[in-house]
Amino acid sequence: MDMTEVPAFVDIFSLVNLLLQFLDSFAFLVLAAVGLVVIFGMMGIINLAHGEFILVGAYSTTLAAVAGAPFVVAVVIGTLTTAVFGILLERSILKRFYDRPLDSMVATWAISLMMIQGTRIYFGNSITQASTPFGSINYGPYSYSAYRVALAGVSVAVLIGIYLVFTRTEFGLKARATIQDADTARAMGVNTERIYILTFGFGSALAGLTGALYAPTLSMSPEVGQNFLVEAFVAVVVGGSSVVMGTSLAGILLGAINAFFSNVYSTFWGRIALLAAAILAIRLMPYGITGVIENIRDRRRAGMSLRESLKIPAVTVLLGGGSND
């Protein structure tokens, strides 16, 4: 056996593996978080039933696909079903909980429990899974699901899509105006009630899309949504309230951490590293990446040089002075 060449090959392959794992991890973090962060960042509701919105998307997509719908059509069905479901929930229950963050957490937690048990009662402990599109990428001793890697592209497209919706459309302008100052938005003739409904529907649709996209890759049990919760909340904590910037930077940072620890140690350690990152983030940057960037931006605006404006936030992050009680 040629002992000098094998490690070199392994190195290249494991680098490829690391890269694919990063892309997979990035996609999972971003897609797990987007629905949650839209509803939290734009409406201030911490939706503990986020996992069950994903469940609705995953189940409706799976049922449609197994019944014979082409996968893309099934994904659209899953996304729209979840949007409608979210809007019904918002109208019937959640609209009573605006500006009551703690109450809304209890309410959404209750909804989550009811939905998991309801799904179990109605569908049983599992349903038939849809098959995964594409095959797998093979390289050396490894192989990786091509579909999961393709989702990295989808997650970037989703982020760009959200950015365009909120900056380039009339709905986006009205939504940002409403979130900033509802009274003034109404004085500008904006039907804020309608904006809340649409924003919630949009966030729900994103959660549904996530469920739909991951449906073929996960076993379809009533707890399927729980798979996403850790990543979703960690990404929101690290990213902060800015939907696109916070989520994408959190996805890159956490994706890298997760891929590295999963690759070098094991998936178990990858998960531990994510949670450790979340704890550190809460201590060092209580408003997430969004907060750090806004801080820098404010300093720039106040006339500081780029170097000067980066200095203090960096020190704050390193020493943990940014945390407040």
């Binding site: 009339e170 302008l173 009205k174 940002r176 105006a177 900033q180 100052d181 009274d183 003034t184 938005a185 109404r186 004085a187 500008m188 003739g189 904006v190 039907n191 804020t192 009630e193 605006r301």
Partner: protein, 259 residues
């Protein structure tokens, strides 16, 4: 007719006239009452304003001015009574529905969207008026109010005076038939107040818009208005010309007494 000398004895006469089908009043209230728990903030107010009028509503602190303003804009729902606009009962309409009918409002607290650019702020108003491409209208309004140079600035970076101008520009870009202004010169310097007064006078003379200005500062009122309604303890206390109000001993006692 409203707010003539004869009405000062019984201001409700004006409102009872309004029950007829045709009325020159663009805005009227009928028995308007707002209670917060046990406190009556607005008590059985009949108030009316004719189309094209510039009316000031004054009163000491706690007289209920802001509550009345919020009842007119739809931010508060009255405990009882009605609000009529252009002959229509709008008591139960949401603020945005009142905007649709041609009302516009500028709040006391600075209310621009601070994290949006000046241009985006103007777009929020323009979307109500224009279908399709907003840019030409927004550009026109930015130029009209001399905000074009700061169009891409974030609103929070504007000076206090510029912020007030942006607010007024937004309220006027809605192309309202009636504009409600709650203490438009609060926190402004004398020079800035005079500029706003000049602008309001010009608008009032050149257009057929109706203005209702809620104001604490009687010197500012003197610059813009002839007809004044005095509110005290949630009720209409007097209505008349600025001279009459200034010379009214009882008004001086409740309102100017301390000065």
């Amino acid at each position: 007719m409203t707010a003539t000398e004869g009405d000062t004895e019984n201001p409700r006469v004006a409102a009872s006239d309004r029950t007829g089908v045709r009325s020159p009043d663009i805005l009227a209230t009928d028995g308007l009452t707002k209670k917060f728990g046990g406190i009556t903030a607005i008590n059985n107010v009949d108030f009316s304003v004719e189309e094209g009028e510039l009316r000031c509503l004054i009163g000491p602190n706690g007289a209920g001015k802001s509550t009345l303003f919020k009842l007119l804009t739809g931010q508060h729902t009255p405990t009882s009574g009605h609000v009529y606009y252009d002959g229509e009962d709008i008591t139960d309409l949401e603020p945005h529905e009142r905007i649709d009918r041609g009302m516009s409002m500028k709040f006391q607290a600075p209310s621009v969207f601070e994290s949006l650019s000046v241009r985006e702020n103007m777009r929020t108003a323009a979307q109500r008026v224009i279908d399709g491409n907003l840019d030409p209208y927004v550009d026109e309004k930015l130029n009209e109010f001399e905000l074009a140079d700061s169009a891409d600035m974030t609103a929070s970076d504007l000076s206090h005076g510029q912020t007030q101008i942006l607010e007024i520009a937004m309220a006027l870009s809605l192309d309202p038939k009636m504009l409600l202004l709650d203490e438009p010169v609060a926190g402004m310097s004398v020079e800035e107040s005079e500029e706003v007064a000049e602008m309001l006078n010009e608008l009032h003379e050149e257009t057929d818009k109706t203005f209702i200005v809620i104001e604490h500062d009687i010197d500012f009122v003197d610059m813009i208005s002839d007809q004044v309604t005095v509110l005290s303890q949630g009720e209409i206390f007097r209505q008349g010309t600025i001279e009459e109000i200034r010379n009214d001993a009882e008004v001086r006692e409740i309102y100017l007494g301390g000065e």
